[in-house]
């Protein structure tokens, strides 16, 4: 049975649904995911935890259709991702913001340009971009740093730029793959608090992480993977799973 979500009192809308999903990479004998079934509802904040190689990144890549499930069904916002033709993949990805451990900013563009880029490539009007980019930068706490280049920023600030870029198009889902992996504990907590704020605007957040401190402090739903299996899925969970059990 899927766990009760925080929004269980409303009509739950499933944003992400995995039905018995397995993934075996070519040239690899060991499956990355085996028989994973889970649901993430609208507005949830979910941590995906597990050691390296447990399948966290694969899970996120399946949502983005960067990878194709070997067996099973992946549904995102009610759409079956596996059967989605390639030309419709961009539309899926517009509904999903993504943040990575290594920020992936464009080094020769300013903070403002990095965030605006995400809208420019979607063909948004200049007027709309001028409106929404400063708002987003304000929200992530980068007001006044619009003209800086990425290398002039601290790691935490760079990750804020990346979050602003992921969020500027107001996606329904935000995926974060170890977003605090390169940051010190205090900065990490700031970043996760920012994600929490974004979550409160109604954006569903799935964050893969190793960071036990953060997981233990936020007390959100925790899905734990080990060797490609879901071994734990609980609300208000902690990293190791010891205290909640």
């Amino acid at each position: 049975m899927p766990p009760k979500s925080p929004s269980a009192l409303r009509l739950p809308v499933r944003m992400i649904r995995f039905e018995n999903v397995s993934k075996v990479y070519p040239r690899s004998t060991k499956p990355a995911l085996t028989g994973v079934s889970l649901e993430v509802e609208l507005g949830e904040f979910v941590f995906v935890v597990g050691s390296s190689g447990s399948g966290k990144s694969t899970l996120l890549r399946l949502v983005l259709k960067e990878e194709q499930a070997t067996t099973g069904t992946v549904l995102v916002a009610g759409q079956e991702v596996g059967g989605l033709p390639q030309r419709k993949v961009p539309r899926l990805r517009r509904e999903i913001g993504t943040v990575f451990q290594d920020f992936r900013l464009l080094p020769n563009k300013t903070v403002y340009q990095n965030v605006a880029f995400a809208l420019q490539v979607l063909g948004r009007s200049r007027h709309a971009i001028r409106q929404v980019v400063p708002e987003t930068l304000e929200m992530v706490g980068l007001h006044g740093k619009e003209k800086r280049l990425p290398h002039e920023l601290s790691g935490g600030e760079q990750q804020r730029v990346a979050i602003a870029r992921a969020f500027v198009n107001k996606p329904a889902i935000l995926l974060a793959d170890e977003p605090t992996g390169n940051l010190d504990p205090t900065t990490s907590l700031d970043i996760v608090r920012l994600l929490d704020r974004i979550n409160r605007t109604g954006t569903t957040i799935v964050m893969a992480t190793h960071d036990d401190d953060i997981v233990n402090q936020l007390r959100k739903r925790v899905i734990e993977l080990a060797d490609g299996h879901v071994i734990r899925d609980e609300n208000k969970g902690v990293y190791g799973g010891g205290t909640a059990r």
Binding site: L64, P90, L92, V121, N169
Partner: protein, 301 residues
């Protein structure tokens, strides 16, 4: 504005890859120059043909008293023989479209006029060129019929088929055409390979940008369009240069040919303008096709 953004992306891409963009321009230029040269040579052949087919194809030279032709036997043509040839030619209508008679004086005058710039003109006297019938055919390819029926006829010294003389020239022109087409094909192949390499390199050096574009859900068109446009722009620049060189070749080369062959109809600068859209169209298609295939191969979404 979406267009402005795209244009700035294309400009950045070209600037960042300037040296390799220039090499695409140059290779395209050489390939299109050679192809253009081949097409122009072929147009020159067609111009010759058209020119000559409008004029005399077969000349029947009549005997003179001091003719060197063995068929004459040192006897000048008689008035009866002339009449017989004329009426035989009349009977060959409609293949024979028109017959012009040229007296020795007329033949001499025409020669003087034609080769007025040549030292040859001074060495020729009236009577050196025999009186002749110049025959125009309705179907120039059937000159054989006329040649065979008059060769060796009484009073006929020699039947000269202009086509045979011209064929030699056409052969030379055809060799030029084939050679330049073959070289052009090689150069187009080089251009295609170079374009493909260029795009691979550009795709690699911009993988960060394209990666983010994919991630935020930019359409395939948005991701690929700048790459395609960069290649097309470089190729079009190459065609532009090749047209300049073709123009220069015709502008300054043809007057030189005209001096050597004063009697020939020659192509002109307007022929360059006629083939320009074809060269440009071809290279745009090649550039777009190559970049699309390369991007499909190396820029998977």
């Amino acid at each position: 504005m979406r267009l402005q953004f795209m244009l700035s992306e294309i400009w950045i891409g070209l600037r960042r890859n300037a040296s390799i963009a220039i090499s695409v321009v140059l290779v395209t230029m050489v390939s299109m120059y050679l192809l253009g040269l081949g097409i122009l040579a072929q147009r020159q052949v067609d111009t010759f043909k058209g020119y000559w087919y409008d004029r005399v194809q077969v000349t029947i030279f009549l005997c003179t008293a001091d003719s060197g032709e063995p068929d004459c036997g040192k006897k000048a043509v008689t008035e009866e023989q002339k009449q017989a040839i004329r009426s035989q030619l009349q009977q060959m209508k409609p293949l024979v479209k028109q017959v012009y008679y040229e007296s020795e004086q007329e033949a001499y005058d025409r020669f003087q006029e034609q080769f007025r710039n040549s030292p040859l003109a001074g060495n020729i006297r009236v009577g050196d060129i025999p009186q002749n019938f110049r025959v125009q055919l309705s179907d120039p390819t059937k000159y054989d019929v006329v040649v065979s029926s008059f060769e060796g006829a009484p009073g006929v010294g020699r039947v000269q088929d202009q086509q045979k003389t011209l064929d030699k020239l056409f052969k030379v022109m055809n060799v030029i055409t084939i050679a330049s087409f073959a070289l052009a094909a090689l150069m187009v192949l080089c251009a295609v390979l170079l374009m493909a390499t260029t795009i691979r390199q550009a795709a690699f050096s911009r993988r960060r940008e394209t990666g983010i574009m994919k991630l935020v859900g930019a359409s395939n068109f948005t991701i690929r369009f700048p790459f395609v446009m960069e290649t097309v722009l470089a190729a079009v620049a190459g065609v532009g240069l090749s047209v300049v060189f073709l123009w220069a070749t015709v502008r300054w080369g043809i007057p030189y040919v005209a001096k050597v062959f004063p009697d020939l109809a020659l192509i002109g600068v307007s022929d360059v303008w006629v083939i320009t859209p074809w060269l440009a169209g071809l290279i745009v298609v090649v550039a777009m096709g190559t970049s699309w295939v390369t991007l499909w191969r190396y820029l998977r979404v």
